[in-house]
């Protein structure tokens, strides 16, 4: 099931990766830096946000004006900053979503990697509210809609006894209190948690890619700036709660679920959100990854050089105080709860050399699933069958789907593929061994396509080791034109692994003059068109979904009625006068002449227009003892025309007669917002209209 979903998803994702590889190459492929790009967009958000904050007035009255000032008077800087702030936030959601989808599709969320996944989920609950509170602060019509709908959502939770949404129905009751709270959350609270959350998210990873490559930073900053100038972010009209905008430009990246509130009860929306989150939380165990044996340290062959600890992509190795009494300071210790069994540590261990004909090959650190000794055996045995002077051994990563296909496609009398866990598992002396002991004439290391290593760093370390830039170096005597990496740039002359094998074979035997291994990369004719297309498409997508498609709040020609009041219903029975005898039996300080029950009855409310019932409900009193008021809050859409409105309430919930009634001809213009309240002093309903 999981596998099926992943394979189907990869069918969509792989072409996208190949397209981007065409233009950017895998060193700059944005899909290899999605987490880092998300962080980078947050940096843009932070810097532009500081500029906005300098000019922002934190009050209901001042907010809109101050943002308008930035947008229009100071468009060349403030306006651009505002747009950058919005668009970078939107871009972060795109990269964040792709990041998550990619980790899932390529199965990088299970096993001991669960920690990164599970700490990723709460980040969603920080980032999305960060955007929501941001939209709130602008205090335009969209902000009003966001405030009202958020309040309706929060009101559903049994946290506040007062209705919050009531604050956003008319200007009179709106105070700066909420505003200050939102500003605090948006400017300080949520960002602080986010920074902490991201720190935790990458805590277990060794050398997380926090910054994308410079070229990507520059490219995406330019793309976002051009978008900001060409298509500035604008406010959507000043708030006037006596009217309702019929449609709004919605930022779908952050406000995706808000339109659901038009048709769903808040309970369902919460259900959807918590359900999705729970599903995400348990995803690493659906199903759990089969346990694989973690790397094992052989103290007799470990002198504590720490190379393996430097190279482990998952921070699973720590150098600890020596435990066996030998004259070494430290030893490598593997934490099985972190180890992903990738074998990259074996590739880095200096004792993992196959040049041992007579003593046992036991590296300081080894993978029980596929030991270095077994690998050596396999090499020696199988290479025996290779014939000719153009023999090539291909080391391919076991965990990549490509590996199985490679074997059947490539293996012949001159070619043999050897599956290893990860290209990084192969200690460079093995390459030397294969060539110098004449097991083969050329070696190809076929990693995951696009250099996107399943184990994060295996491909990088391998390339550096072969280039003699990272320990352990490939020995100098290995002619570099006998060794080829499988993850060539797509514009290289040989394309995929079989092309590379063919090209390498063509260039053999080496040393007879003029042969130069596989041909070096050609110029990439796709670079400019593809990168330009990707940046433009990205900017268009960011700008587009940040306001389009417009959300129809109420249909054209309609008006809105909000019903909002609290009322304490009748007590369940009448108060009873106590008799003198009963009074005497009570302690003197408890003597009250009446015995009143605390519990109240529910109230019934009906609202109709021209005789059609639009709303009817029975509301129970609030409070643990059912002694509080009942809260009525309902938004209704009605035709915008003159109509006879009727509202009735029955304070004891039972009898069909109403205790309070208001019936009145009301002329509702399209787009008008009428609030129905209950005046507690006058004990009567009021229609509050402009």
């Amino acid at each position: 099931m999981l596998k099926g979903v992943q394979i189907a998803g990869q069918l969509v994702f792989d072409p996208l990766r190949r397209l981007l590889d065409r233009g950017f190459g895998h060193r700059l492929n944005p899909l290899n830096f999605l987490g880092a790009l998300t962080i980078y967009f947050f940096w843009i958000v932070l810097v532009s946000g500081i500029w906005l904050f300098i000019f922002f007035k934190t009050s209901v009255a001042g907010a809109y004006e101050s943002v308008e000032y930035l947008t229009h008077e100071q468009w060349y800087l403030g306006g651009v900053m505002r747009s950058l702030h919005r668009y970078a936030s939107d871009a972060a959601i795109i990269t964040l979503a792709l990041h998550m989808i990619k980790e899932f599709l390529y199965d990088r969320h299970r096993g001991n990697r669960w920690f990164s996944w599970v700490t990723g989920v709460p980040l969603l609950w920080l980032v999305i509210p960060l955007g929501i509170t941001g939209y709130w602060l602008v205090w335009d019509q969209l902000a009003w809609y966001v405030a009202l709908t958020s309040a309706e959502l929060l009101d559903w939770l049994p946290i506040f006894s007062e209705s919050m949404a009531r604050n956003f129905l008319s200007d009179e009751v709106l105070s700066d209190r909420f505003f200050t709270l939102m500003a605090f959350l948006h400017l300080i609270g949520l960002p602080l948690f986010l920074v902490f959350g991201i720190w935790l998210h990458v805590l277990r990873i060794n050398g997380p890619r926090i910054n994308p490559p410079r070229a990507l930073m520059a490219g995406s900053l330019i793309a976002m700036t051009v978008l900001s100038v060409a298509y500035p972010a604008l406010s959507q009209g000043e708030v006037d709660m006596t009217t309702v905008p019929s449609s709004l430009g919605l930022d779908w990246y952050y406000l995706l679920v808000y339109p659901l509130m038009k048709h769903w009860s808040p309970g369902w929306v919460w259900g959807l959100l918590t359900g999705t989150s729970l599903l995400l939380f348990v995803a690493p165990w659906m199903p759990a990854q089969r346990n694989r044996a973690s790397a094992i340290v052989d103290l007799d062959n470990c002198n504590g050089c720490a190379r393996c600890a430097d190279d482990c992509p998952f921070g699973a190795i720590t150098m600890m105080e020596r435990s066996d009494g030998k004259a070494y300071e430290t030893e490598a210790v593997v934490d099985p709860a972190l180890c992903m069994s990738c074998g990259i540590c074996t590739g880095s261990c200096p004792t993992a050399t196959p040049f041992r004909r007579h003593s046992v090959l036991s590296p300081g650190i080894d993978s029980p699933d596929m030991t270095a000794a077994a690998l050596r055996e396999k090499l020696l045995e199988d290479s025996d069958k290779l014939e000719g002077t153009h023999r090539i051994i291909v080391f391919s990563c076991r965990d990549h789907a490509q590996s199985a296909r490679l074997k059947s496609r490539l293996d012949d009398a001159q070619t043999m593929t050897v599956a290893i866990i990860c290209a990084g598992q192969l200690p460079p002396p093995f390459i030397d061994f294969a060539l110098s002991r004449d097991l083969a004439d050329g070696v190809v290391l076929a990693g995951c396509p696009g250099g996107d290593c399943q184990y994060r760093l295996g491909a990088d370390w391998t390339a550096l080791r072969v280039a003699r830039q990272r320990d352990p170096h490939l020995r100098k005597r290995v002619e570099s034109n006998r060794v080829a990496l499988g993850w060539q740039e797509p514009w290289s002359a040989c394309g995929d692994v079989s092309g590379i094998v063919a090209a390498l074979r063509e260039s053999l035997p080496v040393g007879t003059g003029g042969t130069a291994g596989i041909p070096s990369s050609r110029r990439n004719p796709w670079r400019v068109p593809v990168t330009a297309f990707v940046y433009v498409a990205f900017a268009v997508m960011v700008g587009w979904l940040s306001v389009w498609p417009r959300f129809q709040l109420i249909d054209e020609g309609n008006a809105m009625i909000s019903l909002s009041f609290s009322y304490a219903g009748q007590r369940i029975r009448e108060c009873r006068q106590l008799t003198q005898e009963e009074l005497n039996r009570l302690a003197p300080n408890m003597r009250k002449p009446q015995d009143c029950p605390r519990e109240r009855l529910p109230i019934r409310v009906v609202l109709s227009s021209n005789g059609d019932t639009l709303y009817e409900d029975i509301k129970r009193p609030t409070g643990l003892w059912k002694d509080g008021s009942a809260n009525i809050y309902k938004r209704l859409t009605v035709a915008g025309r003159s109509q006879k409105l009727f509202i009735g309430m029955n304070e004891s919930g039972q009898s069909p007669e109403f205790d309070f009634v208001l019936e009145q001809e009301v002329d509702l213009a399209p787009g008008e917002h009428l609030v129905v309240e209950f005046d507690d002093i006058q004990k009567s309903f009021v229609f509050k209209q402009d």
């Binding site: 062959n301 002198n303 504590g304 050089c305 720490a306 190379r307 030998k326 004259a327 070494y328 300071e329 261990c349 200096p350 004792t351 050399t353 040049f355 041992r356 004909r357 007579h358 003593s359 300081g364 030397d432 110098s436 003699r468 320990d471 352990p472 170096h473 020995r475 100098k476 005597r477």
Partner: protein, 134 residues
């Protein structure tokens, strides 16, 4: 009388590195013993292979200590380590191809191969680290 001899003056003050130096001296002496015995090539070969593995990890450890001490001559010292590994492999190859001449080369060069590095690069490292490590 062994060819190379450990002296306490060689001590770097890093117990693990000193220990390995001592061990390596022992291993090199052992190869010479085998050559004197005119023992079969297999014994010499396996000694050389063990030396290769040991010295590769010895260099790795020494390099770790140099990096941690921010040793200023790290790059040159590290290059020399890489050269020494290349040279040892060459000697091993020669011995495998032609034990007769290989043995001669070993007899002439093996002690110097390690001894000179030990007396120059490692000694300089000792001067520079000595103070910190007592």
């Amino acid at each position: 009388m062994p060819l190379l001899q450990w002296k306490s003056a060689y001590s770097l003050g890093i117990p693990s590195v000193d220990h390995e130096h001592r061990e390596l001296i022992g291993m090199i002496n052992e190869v010479y013993d085998h050559m004197e015995d005119a023992a079969d090539p297999v014994a010499i070969e396996s000694c050389l292979e063990d030396i290769y593995a040991s010295i590769a990890s010895h260099f790795a450890l020494e390099e770790r200590h140099m990096r941690e001490a921010r040793y200023t001559e790290y790059d040159a010292h590290k290059d020399e380590h890489e050269n020494l590994l290349d040279q040892l492999l060459e000697m091993m190859d020669e011995f495998a191809d032609d034990p007769q001449s290989g043995r001669e080369t070993l007899r002439k060069s093996l002690a110097d191969w390690f001894g000179i590095h030990f007396a120059t690069f490692d000694a300089r490292l000792h001067e520079s680290l000595g103070d910190h490590h007592g």
